[in-house]
């Protein structure tokens, strides 16, 4: 029974389907019940586990402090859902309002929330990716396997990619006293996210803790022995390295393939949605019954020029899920925008790294408190004369202050004098991000047709 038209009736007896049973999906479900939704709630997840927390996987789980299955998320309340776990969504028919599942069944909805998140980008060569000893780290199963292998004491671990996950894994390896090499294509670790000024500090942390860090180099191939076990890696500079374990930490891919042909604006960079979490269709027209939240969503943020941001941030998943759930069961005038200020953390080499705002939009950086050399500082990022982000290394208490600076578009460089014991003056310097004028993506959407009535918008590749 469809319940179009009446929000009251939807709240009472509607059918809501949540695809994606992780942090965003769970918090959305809790919010729906919290706000009085009493209809049927179906939770679909491709992993066989109830929702669990991922950040601990690359830290306390790999360190061996807690088992991987100790990260199931606490419930804020009972959600009385029908769980379909261990089965992936395979397709969406938005006209019939039906989600097809990989096991051949389907589920109908009045409102749909898509929270399918991301998965780790695999090693591109399938044969090499299949070698025993080659890992990725995204899921609880990944963490269990990798933890087991690290415990066995491999002769050397190779981490491919020095973003946050790669750096955290390298840090864990050193803490477990395992020899580790990190290969990073960029000039420093974390340079894509934080720029090379801060990246240089990250590189010092690697060196100080005995990581064999190799920047400006790519891994060109992984070589196995006769039994299919990883033995050696080859680098773009012609070098080789013997390693028993390689962890591929090359970022993530959004789980949108199942939406191919659905007509939604879903592609490799996520699913476009408005600030109210409503999905756009491929023509750029907003839907009213399909909502998006979490890592898979791309939504415009007024603070950042209405740019469509997709954030793989824990806090964003929670906040966006709450807004999406609220808007799903509210009439237009009661809906809320998702105006969350991006916030994330990482812990590596015993240092607490936190960030607020969007550092990689910045052109300049200034160390406003502490010093880079002490690895304890606050850096503000500027974009066209305003504060757009801040990063702290072991100075997290300052971040909230900078969050307000960002939200109020405070001038950059900051005009205030901070209480600080440094004697050298403060001076902004280029932040050291990769040149944005060099394209890294081809066109994704093409428009065809000769007359306006005939116009088609197509994703490329589909």
């Amino acid at each position: 029974m469809a319940v179009d038209g009446s929000v009251e009736r939807l709240r009472r007896e509607g059918r809501i389907v949540v695809v994606g049973a992780s942090l965003a999906g769970l918090r959305a479900a809790e919010t729906l019940r919290e706000e009085g939704f009493t209809g049927t709630l179906t939770m679909i997840g491709d992993e066989p586990y109830e929702p669990y927390d991922r950040p601990p996987l690359s830290k306390q789980v790999l360190l061996g402090r807690v088992p991987a299955d100790h990260t199931a998320l606490p419930r804020r309340r009972a959600i009385e859902a029908q769980w379909r776990l261990g089965v992936a969504a395979a397709g969406l028919d938005p006209t019939a309002k039906r989600v097809a599942l990989a096991n051949g069944t389907s589920v109908e909805y009045d409102r749909l929330l898509i929270a399918t998140g991301v998965r780790s980008r695999p090693w591109p060569n399938e044969l090499e990716a299949g070698l025993d000893g080659v890992f990725v780290l995204r899921t609880m199963d990944d963490a269990t396997r990798l933890r087991h292998r690290l415990k066995a004491g491999p002769s050397r671990v190779l981490v491919i990619g020095a973003g946050f996950t790669g750096s955290e894994i390298a840090s864990v390896c050193r803490e477990r006293d395992l020899p580790v090499t990190v290969a990073e294509r960029g000039p420093t670790p974390l340079s894509g996210a934080l720029g090379s000024v801060i990246g240089d500090v990250a590189a010092q942390l690697h060196h100080q803790h005995g990581v064999d860090l190799r920047c400006g180099v790519m891994v060109t191939g992984l070589e196995g022995d006769g039994a299919g076990r990883l033995r050696r890696a080859h680098f773009s500079d012609g070098g080789t390295l013997d390693a028993e374990v390689a962890v591929v930490a090359l970022g993530a891919t959004r789980n949108t393939e199942w939406l191919a042909g659905s007509g939604l604006a879903a592609g490799p960079r996520g699913i476009a949605c408005d600030a109210g979490c409503r999905a756009f269709d491929v023509r750029g027209i907003v839907t009213d019954d399909v909502f998006v939240a979490g890592d898979v969503a791309r939504s415009p943020h007024p603070l950042f020029g209405y740019q469509f941001l997709s954030l793989e941030h824990w806090g964003n998943a929670v906040a966006q899920a709450e807004v999406a759930a609220h808007n799903m069961i509210c009439p237009g005038e009661e809906r809320r925008p998702h105006l969350w200020t991006p916030y994330f953390w990482s812990a590596q080499f015993g240092v607490n790294i936190k960030s607020v705002g969007v550092p990689n939009m910045a052109d300049q950086i200034i160390v406003s408190q502490g010093s880079l050399g002490e690895h304890r500082f606050t850096a503000a990022y500027g974009y066209q004369g305003r504060v757009i982000a801040a990063v702290t290394f072991d100075q997290a208490k300052w971040l909230e202050f900078y969050q307000r600076q960002i939200e109020q578009a405070a001038p950059f460089p900051p005009p205030f004098t901070t209480v600080d014991r440094r004697t050298e003056g403060m001076r902004p310097v280029p932040a050291g991000f990769p040149d944005p004028s060099v394209p890294t993506h081809g066109p994704q959407v093409t428009v065809s047709g000769h007359s306006p009535t005939d116009q088609r918008v197509t994703f490329t590749p589909a």
Binding site: T71, A72, R84, V87
Partner: protein, 78 residues
């Protein structure tokens, strides 16, 4: 019982690490590591830690009761 800490909120005050040291531990100056599923015998300590957190970053679930109340519940699919 289940615990999660919102590490965006956490500012390393370390109250939890003092009150429930076998569940929460500082790693370096400011970073926090914790066991998301401590033994039920630690319940009182964990609740004290939750109450003491100056930024209210700790969420504790009632000793598994909510999940259990939903029935075995997990999965009819796959």
């Amino acid at each position: 019982m289940r615990v999660v800490v919102d590490l965006n909120r956490c500012q390393g005050y370390a109250q939890c690490a003092f009150l429930a040291p076998d569940v929460f531990a500082m790693h370096g100056e400011e970073a926090l590591l914790y066991d998301g599923q401590p033994d039920d015998t630690r319940r009182l300590d964990v609740l004290r830690a939750e109450a003491a957190c100056p930024v209210k970053a700790i969420t504790v679930e009632g000793a598994g009761a909510t999940w259990a109340a939903e029935g075995a519940g997990v999965s009819d699919g796959g």
